[in-house]
């Protein structure tokens, strides 16, 4: 039904330049990478949470809540395989490896949330422009934004297809694991085919509108760095510098953790 990710509000985050948002994304990513101890991640997590509230991007995060739940649970388990600690907890899990899993999970959630905030507050075209101004070729920027745009379209298609198969008697909720996997075939094939078909038309429409006709492309949208942008970037820069400094100084690590 609702095929838009972009939320048309006029919040502080919406008004920021797309370049600022892309750079802040990068900054937070670097900052959270510095720490193994989940407690040290909390300031960054809080910051991202604050952004989420300001940007009013909650509804979009809610839309992917099941995906987030699955990712969180599997991440909490899987990272234990990649780390060992000194204090056994149970089975193959140690206190340290669990803490490490928590911080990696927080890292993942932070990145997903940041990404969601970015696409919820930035129009596709702005995102492309931001990426070009930061040095990416136009076609690359366009390709990235197009794949983002495909997500809601595929989701809408999947909904219709699952309705069609359910009304033919397909019951996705019953059966054991293998049976359930097999039941996805009647969904996957039509989703695949309809996506290919619509991307084909999309490609034709794109060329028919002169995509890539000339090198000297103009843009109707204007983006401009304002005072707020510089302030946000300065704050971000401080954050990343402090994070790196703390890491080098030996803070935020987990003693007794061995990573593989």
């Amino acid at each position: 039904m609702d095929a838009e990710i972009y939320l048309d509000y006029n919040t502080f985050i919406h008004r920021l330049d797309p370049r600022t948002k892309l750079l802040v994304f990068l900054i937070i990513f670097i900052a959270v990478l510095q720490f193994e101890n989940p407690l040290w991640l909390l300031p960054c997590v809080a910051l991202v949470f604050l952004q989420l509230v300001i940007a009013k991007a909650w509804p979009n995060l809610r839309r992917i809540r099941f995906v987030l739940l699955v990712l969180t649970i599997s991440s909490l388990v899987i990272w234990n395989f990649f780390a060992n600690g000194a204090t056994p907890l149970f089975w193959f899990i140690e206190v340290e490896s669990l803490q490490y899993s928590v911080s990696r999970t927080l890292l993942m959630l932070t990145i997903i949330t940041m990404g969601m905030i970015m696409v919820s507050t930035t129009r596709n075209e702005e995102l492309v422009m931001g990426m070009i101004r930061l040095g990416l070729p136009y076609r690359v920027g366009f390709a990235i934004s197009t794949s983002l745009r495909l997500v809601p379209t595929i989701a809408a298609n999947t909904l219709i297809i699952s309705q069609a198969q359910r009304s033919r008697g397909l019951n996705l909720e019953s059966g054991n694991f293998i049976e359930r996997i097999r039941k996805f075939i009647p969904l996957l094939i039509p989703v695949f085919i309809s996506t290919i078909r619509s991307t084909n038309i999309f490609g034709m429409a794109l060329e028919s509108r002169g995509f890539g006709a000339r090198e000297d492309r103009t843009t109707y949208l204007e983006i401009k760095m304002g005072k707020a942008d510089y302030a946000v970037l300065l704050f971000g820069l401080l954050l990343v510098v402090i994070s790196i400094y703390l890491n080098i100084a030996g803070y935020g690590n987990l003693t007794g953790l061995r990573r593989f």
Binding site: D2, S167, F202, G203, F211
Partner: protein
């Protein structure tokens, strides 16, 4: 003719991997400012022809291409599609897939941006073209929130913004309701007045093409007829033979005049054949000049027979009580719908794009549950039955067969539903045979469903639902995307199923299908039940229908002008009396 803007010289084309050519030796010139309509049955090569004009063929689709396409002096062989875009604008049938921006104005800006047009000029073109198609007030809106008709208008505006010399539209109105269709054709009408634009429109619908300068008929890749619109449209036999829908008004007059000649009269006053009328107003004048009248008694009999044949009494099979549905996003799609459908009926649900008719239909087999009110099937609420159980009683054929087909053979596809219901293999086989013969696909068991035409895939989808032996069959736009011949045979099949006992509910945009096949009609407007009755009762209320974005076919409009509602030319012929000899 003025100098040709489009010149097709001995154009032939065959898609890679196919044996039959899609186009064969097409020789055609279109003059500056001309409005040409290309018509033909499915697979006749219409879309292929459209794709040749802007170079999608041979650059985007690979295949065997011979001959030349020259547009405004540019040979498409030597120019990429993007380069041709400044000369030729192409509007596609699928209005979802051709829009890709996040706001209406950016959609229009996309083309000019690619050609390096400076910003102030882009702003001017956005303003101009949005005003031209009547979308100025939606400038900031995301295209996904527009209705189907508005999306197609936006597609036109965004192509016009590149200032092309030629505008090609490939079945631009196929998925639209009648009034939105009309809106698109009003735009083409305005464009026709402009000297600077040459129009080429591929169409199925006949009524809308009356304003064309010339019409070309394609059949199996060949250009079989080309001439002035009214002249070509008189050739009713040819149109019927190649699967195009003949217009009701000229068919009626041709037959009526012929009957009269047979009974000794002349074709019209003065002995010479008068000009054949095409529009309802012209028809009324011709009718009056002929001195004919319609027999009240015969008309009353017609109506009486029809009312007696209605099956809407006794115990309803499906009943909606105060049905309302609000989507999780807060959009209220249906409100307070009360309706009843009786066993053995064949009913149509009609309404504007986005009026809620599909949402309503999805409530009838439990795909959606009412957020308020109740839907009862055989007296029990759908809420208690669920879609899995209801699916055996109420089959639902989705609009796009590609949303459900996934098997490697037609047999497997149709067997899917019976197998899910754990029937033994013998019974499955029997049901598949039965279902395939009902849709006219017996003998196709081993075929790959994806290799069939759209109408073939549509039939597979119907068979796949029939194999569950439902009592009720819901069809969502069963005729969309099919040509007239295919639409007829699809609906004849539906009628046969109805005669064998199935209750039929179909959702459609095609008013002639409603007129010919439905026993009762429900008109949905803004999520409410707006009108209901027999097609005759509903089509008599033209003014009310217009507000629901619907419009009866020309022939019915003509009969309404004579204060009687006739659904088919034959009905009027039967009621005809009098006439000047």
């Amino acid at each position: 003719m003025a100098e040709p803007v489009i010149a097709l010289q001995d154009l032939s084309y065959r898609y890679r991997g196919t044996k039959k050519p899609a186009l064969q030796n097409i020789q055609l010139e279109v003059g500056r400012g001309e409005f040409l309509v290309v018509m033909g049955p499915s697979e006749a090569g219409k879309s292929t022809l459209a794709a040749c004009i802007n170079g999608l063929i041979p650059h985007f689709h690979k295949g065997k291409f011979s001959g030349d396409v020259i547009v405004n002096g540019r040979n498409t062989r030597q120019h990429t599609v993007s380069q041709m875009a400044e000369q030729v604008g192409l509007v596609f049938q699928d209005f979802e897939a051709q829009l890709f921006s996040t706001s209406v104005e950016l959609e229009v800006a996309f083309g000019p941006e690619n050609f390096g047009v400076p910003r102030p000029e882009i702003a001017r073109r956005i303003q101009e073209n949005l005003a031209y198609v009547g979308l100025e007030q939606f400038r900031k809106r995301p295209p996904s929130t527009l209705s189907g008709g508005q999306k197609q208008k936006l597609a036109i505006a965004s192509v016009l913004a590149m200032k092309p010399q030629v505008l090609v539209m490939d079945e631009p109105t196929t998925d639209l309701d009648p009034i939105s269709k009309l809106g698109i054709f009003q735009i083409t009408d305005n464009l026709r007045q402009r000297e600077d634009i040459t129009l080429m429109v591929v169409e199925h619908e006949t009524e809308e093409v009356l304003h064309a300068d010339r019409i070309a008929f394609l059949k199996e890749g060949e250009l079989i007829r080309l001439g002035p619109a009214r002249q070509v449209l008189q050739d009713i036999e040819l149109m019927e033979s190649i699967g195009l829908m003949p217009l009701g008004i000229p068919s009626f007059f041709l037959k009526a005049w012929k009957n009269k000649q047979r009974s000794g009269g002349s074709a019209g006053a003065g002995g010479t054949a008068p000009a054949l009328p095409f529009t309802p107003e012209e028809a009324k004048t011709s009718f009056e000049l002929s001195g004919w009248s319609l027999s009240d008694q015969k008309y009353a009999e017609l109506v009486k027979q029809e009312t007696q044949a209605l099956k809407n009494s006794g115990q309803p099979l499906i009943r909606c009580q105060e049905l309302s549905h609000t989507y999780p996003s807060g959009v209220k799609a249906l409100s307070g719908i009360d309706l009843e459908i009786y066993p053995g009926e064949i009913v149509a649900i009609v309404g504007q794009n986005g009026s809620g008719k599909t949402t309503l239909a999805k409530h009838l087999n439990g795909l959606l549950m009412p957020t308020q009110g109740e839907v009862l099937v055989e007296g029990k609420p759908t809420r208690e039955q669920g879609v899995f159980k209801l699916g055996q009683k109420v089959g639902y054929v989705f609009q796009n067969p590609d949303h459900q087909i996934f098997s490697e053979t037609v047999f497997e596809e149709v067997a899917f539903s019976p197998r899910l219901r754990h029937l033994d293999e013998k019974e499955v086989k029997r049901r598949v045979e039965e279902a395939l013969s009902a849709v006219g696909l017996a003998g196709y068991e081993g075929q790959d469903p994806f290799s069939l035409t759209k109408s073939g895939r549509q039939r597979v989808a119907v068979a796949a639902v029939l194999a569950a032996r439902p009592d009720v069959l819901i069809l969502d736009e069963p005729t969309t995307g099919l040509d007239y011949g295919e639409q007829r045979s699809m609906m004849e099949m539906v009628r046969r199923l109805n005669e064998q006992g199935s209750t039929i509910i179909f959702v459609t945009h095609h008013m002639w299908v409603v007129a010919e096949y439905a026993q009762r009609v429900f008109v949905v407007k803004d999520g409410r039940l707006y009108l209901e009755g027999t097609p005759r009762q509903v089509f008599a209320q033209e003014q009310l229908l217009k507000e629901a974005y619907l419009r009866p076919p020309h022939f019915i409009q003509f009969s309404n002008l004579l204060a009687k509602t006739m659904l088919r030319p034959q009905e009027m012929l039967d009621c005809l009396s009098g006439g000047i000899d």
